[in-house]
Every structure is written in C-alpha cells, then in structure tokens.
Symmetry: C2
Subunit: 380 residues, 2 copies
C-alpha cells in the first residue's frame, strides 16, 4: 500500500501515460477500465474492469485506509455528476470537482458560464427549435456550427449547418444543442495549464493544434508566429476559466486565433492530446503534473526542454501492428520518440503519437509526419 | 500478446525503470522477480516470482510464440552461465550473450581479457596464495586493492590491503581473488554506450561519478573539466571493450582519470546507475536504448537535452516513507525530477534518485543534493 494513491476512471491512453509518471514518483495508480486488455490495463497492475457509474466499483477503487493522499480523477469528462457529488460529499477528493467537470461535459453550460466570466467566445445560441436555428442562421450569414451539448468528442456531435433541416433529427430527439458562429480562424491553439486545489497554477507553452476532420493531427509548441502578447492573453483566459470554474488537474483550453483575437472553442479537464509533447518537451509532463495537481502537491516546473516540440498523432494504420515499422523508423528517425498505446488497429483510431524536439518547427514537422507515416504503413 | 517481448531477470529498480520505456514503445516487459511486491513487480503487470537459475521459470518467461522479436536480458550480472548457454544454444536471444556477461561477473576473467584487448587497466595480479599478495604488495609500495573475483558490488567484496593477513579469510576460503594497484585518480568517470547484435553502437556523454564508500552518490554529465580528447579516448576504450567482449545492450565502463590517463575499473552490462540522468537528460534514455539494443532494433539518438545533467542517489532515509518530503521538496525544487523505486527503507539502501538539467553543474549539484537530503529526512 502506497502513501500516495490516484484512482482514475478510464482505460485508454491517458491513464496509460499517467502510469509512467506514477511509477517514477512511486504513486500508486489504480484504474477502473473498460476492458482487461485495454491500453491502460496492459501497464497498470491494479486495473479493474467496471463501469464509471458503478458506485460500488468506484468506492472499492478508493479504499486505501493507509494512504496519506488519495484522489479520484478521470480520463474523460463523461462522468455521472450525481455519483461524484455523493462521493465528494463523503470526503472523497474528486479532482476536478464534479461542479467543474460539468462544464467540460456540457457545451451549453460551458458557453453560458464562459460568457458570464467574460471569456471571449464565438457568438452562440441555445437551440431548442427550428425557429431558433433559423434566426441564428439569418444573423450569422447562413452557415453556423451546431454541437450537441453532450456526448461529442473528436469531431463527433458537430455539424456545419446551413438550414434548419440539417439538424432536424437532433431537434426531433430533443437533444440539447448549442449553435455557434463559424470563426474564420487563422490558427487553432491550446492553452494548457494545471491547477491544484490550493490554487497554484502552472502553464505550459501555448500550443498550435492542427486539426483534420475535427481530430488533432499535429501539435507544435510554442505555437509558431504567435506574439508574446497574444500568448500571454491566452494564458490569462485559461487562468480565468480555471479559477472561475474551479478546475483542478490539467486544463486544456482550445481557442481560435482570428484577426489577432482569441475565441474559446472547447475545454478538456484532463491531460489532453495537445499536451502530449510535454512528455519529452517540458521539465514536467502534463501526466506528472496532473498527478501532482489532483493530490494537491506543489506543481512542477514547466520550462520547455527545447526551442520547439512537434507531436504528430498516429490515426489508424495499414499495418496490423504498427511496431512492424520500428526497424525502418528507428533507422531513419533516431531522434523521434514513439509512443504506442497498445490498441488494436481500427481505421482512424488514435493508436499512438510521435514527438521530436529541436529548433525548427518546419523540419520537426517534416520528420515527425514522416515517422508517423511509416507507422501507418505508408512507403515512399 | 505483443510483437515485441523483453524478458528480464531481476526485480529491482533497473527492470522497474525499463518498464517506463517499454510502455511507451508498446514492448511487453516480463520480469522474473525476487518478490511479488518488489520494485519491479509494483509496476510490471507480468512479474513472476522465481529464481534466476530456475530453468523452467526462465523458459516459461520466454514463451511467446507470436512474438516478432523476443530477447532475454538481465538486471544484474550474477547469472548462471551454463543455463544461459543452454538457452542460447536453443535459439533463445540472450542479450548480452552469456560469454560476454561472464566478464561483468568475474573480475579476474575481465582483467585478463581487457589486458589481452589492450584496454588500459591498473596493474593487477591474480592472488591464490599469501606469497602472491606479499609479492604484489612489495611491488606496489605496501598498499593495494583486493577484490573477490565474483559476487562483489557497491563496495562489497573489495578491501584495501596492506598485509597478507588482511585477506587471510578469503584465502582460507579459496576464493578467486584479484589484486590491483591503488590508482591515485583525480576523477572517476563512466563511459556509457549501447550496442546491438548487428554491431551498431551509440554513446552517451562521458559521465563523472562521485563515489562514497564504493557506491555512486552523484553523477554529472558531461564530466566537468574533461577535455574532448580524453572523452573521445574514453569512448574508444568502451567501444573496444564492447566489441572485444561481444557486449550487447547497455555497457557502462567505469574508469579512473589519473594524470590525464584513463584506467578501466569496472564493467556493467546493463543500464547503470551512472546513466540514470539519461531518462531526462538524453534524447534516448539508457532504459529505452537497452530495450532497442537487446531486440536488435536500430538505436536511438543520444544527444543531450541540456548542457548539463546531475543525478543524486537517495541512499537510505530517516523517513519511513520518503514521499513525506514531497510537499516541501516540490515547493522548493520544482525543476528536480524525483524517481523513487517503491522499496522499503533500510540504511544505505538505494531507494531512488533525483535529476536536474541546466547549464551549471555546481548549481545543479547544489539543488539535487538538497532535494535528496529532503528525501532522507534532513532539515536545514
């Protein structure tokens, strides 16, 4: 039994990568996972198969009478708020707290709260009827984004809408919807920070994310061509949100850059794909920082290890096993760091990522993209 | 079942730290460990309790009919050579090969072989009688080092000898002994490299090791004040040894620096304490490189991540649980990376290490020593 215990709900790559940091710090990570052979269970000895909403399973995960510090945290936002509130009411340290997590789970609640906090957001409207969407379309020039308030991620639950009938099915189902103005952005960025319950906050470098079909394909840190002033503004916005929403652990605030303005797009309250570069690229990785933060320990230094870091996701592969590319990849790209999540291959699935550090974002992008292409089974 | 499998004999901190690299590369690490709750078993899901010399247990560890690549490797050199030779004879990939490992296990065989290879070594003599040691003492001016050829590590099995009676017990036991001239060294260094069966070799920066009571207390890389020429010579010597002995995996060659000369002291054929700084301090850590090397995959880049890295060992603690120092340590040394091995505290035991990267070895030493002191329970 360890003195420091973090119980995590979720069995994917995020809990898997938390384990590397947990092992180094002698923190006992326990995971409630979907499958006994999933990404997390392969590397976390104390993985237990169970439903996130199974109160008995979650309570069992938290049994650690001798622990000095223990916290419950999450790989994703789709949690049972009432269960978490009951646990928090019984002195369980739920990090981030259920009241904060709600804003990462419900895009409508998020838009409302961010507007109250004065954070810059695209024009938005709650949509409950055809009349609502028709009016918003007219206001916004005929084309808007509509998102389901709940359940969407990685491009799912998001549509470009030009007429009310484009969301007729969602309206018929009575789904909570939020419409947003299309932002003519020049760049997407993520402001990544961690906050502990005691209030301390540490930021990483502002990261450019390059999305393909609504999924992060590549991240570059620091975001190239962004002025110090804009980067500082992004940090301020993220900090306002972290404090205003009472977020603890890692918070990623995804924003659009448009006309030298920032507009908040999405929130994630957990280690985030835009921060995978921190494993090699920062003094403290987002995974280590998340563990420190949820245990309310002082946060680690986030100074970058190099002038630039580039991370490229591996999304699907033609190879039945991407490690078949190792001999070629390692030979050609000895400086590229490979992370594979132990998942079986499916089209478009996030199977891993690669990272490289150096001086020149263009060259780093070239080499990491080429390395990821080898893992996808592409030959040139 | 993974395509890449590394079976490791040993359940201490070295196999524990291999797991961080194995997880990232989706390599299945399997460990034959001493105890089911030891340093390795806490983080390696497939840990099995068994004796290193138990052939059935070792064979079971190597059962992986679907693996593309599989290798057997070790945390320490004290292995049963005949067993390993039998396995190697049956097409098991034993890395390093048993013939090489012997030279890390038997100091007499090592001295003989290094002399044959022309590697610079201190004056030495095999000791089988009182007459031998008396003659060598007379030759060397009255004070020499005597080591048991086998079984010594971390200062054990080593004596400063001024008269034959100082080793009367060892002689009476008929132990194989090697006597060596005392070297008036100005510095101790370790040349660290990895070699794969295909022959490729990659070096890390030459590392200064600061020993206290025969145990590495601190490591500084690159070794301060060492000329490029001397560092190059150290690399050459290490390479000669790696090739001459047929070493695969990580090789650490510990040397004395005396009068701008290098003299080989000890060999280790596995990730070594002098290389723990590579986890943060090099593009590829010694643990990742060891896995690549034993699987005969192309080696990773070893370029340092910073001008200087300093590592300090945690040897024993006044604290029942060194993580009790986390709040204070993390607050005061946010840039120091802490590694604890999950071991129970015993006086002088290697419980963990801390590393920091930066520009100034003096300042880095100061801060890592202070951080380690907090983990030992010292207050200032």
């Amino acid at each position: 039994m360890k003195s420091n215990v973090v119980a995590v709900i979720g069995g994917g790559q995020l809990a898997r990568m938390m384990q590397e940091a947990a092992g180094a710090l002698d923190i006992e990570l326990r995971a409630l996972v979907e499958a006994e052979d999933g990404a997390t269970a392969q590397v976390v000895p104390d993985s237990r198969v169970g439903e996130p909403g199974d109160e008995a399973a979650v309570r069992a995960l938290l049994e650690a009478p001798d622990a000095t510090r223990i916290a419950l945290t999450f790989e994703h936002e789709h949690q049972d708020t009432e269960l978490l509130q009951r646990l928090a009411g019984k002195s369980v340290s739920v990090q981030p707290p259920p009241e904060a997590l709600l804003f990462a789970r419900d895009k409508l609640a998020m838009r409302q709260r961010l507007s109250e906090l004065g954070a810059p957001v695209p024009a938005w409207r709650e949509i409950v009827s055809e009349a609502d969407i028709a009016a918003f379309l007219a206001e916004q020039g005929g084309s808007v984004i509509v998102k389901t308030a709940r359940g969407g991620y990685d491009g799912k639950g998001v549509r470009v809408v030009e007429a009310p009938e484009d969301i007729a099915d969602w309206l018929a189902d009575g789904r909570a919807l939020v419409a947003e103005a299309k932002v003519p952005f020049t760049m997407e960025v993520a402001a990544l920070l961690a906050r502990r319950p005691a209030g301390e906050i540490k930021h990483w470098e502002l990261t450019q994310t390059i999305q393909v079909d609504g999924i992060c394909a590549r991240a570059i840190a620091p975001a190239p061509g962004v002025s110090d002033e804009l980067a500082a503004r992004a940090r301020e916005i993220a900090e306002t949100i972290a404090e205003g929403l009472g977020v603890t652990g890692v918070l990623a605030v995804e924003m659009f850059v448009a006309d030298d303005e920032l507009l908040v797009n999405e929130l994630a309250m957990r280690p985030h794909n835009s921060g995978h570069w921190t494993i090699e690229g920062a003094t403290t990785s987002q995974f280590e920082q998340h563990l420190r933060a949820v245990l309310d320990l002082p946060l680690g230094d986030t100074t970058p290890r190099a002038a630039c870091a580039v991370m490229v996701n591996l999304l699907g592969s033609e190879l039945a096993d991407p490690t078949a590319a190792y001999p070629d990849l390692f030979e050609r790209y000895p400086e590229v760091k490979v992370h594979l999540y132990g998942k079986s291959v499916r089209p478009g699935r996030k199977l891993g990522h690669v990272t490289a550090l150096g001086d020149d974002p263009t060259q780093l992008s070239h080499r990491t993209l080429a390395a990821a292409a080898l893992l996808r089974g592409e030959t040139d």
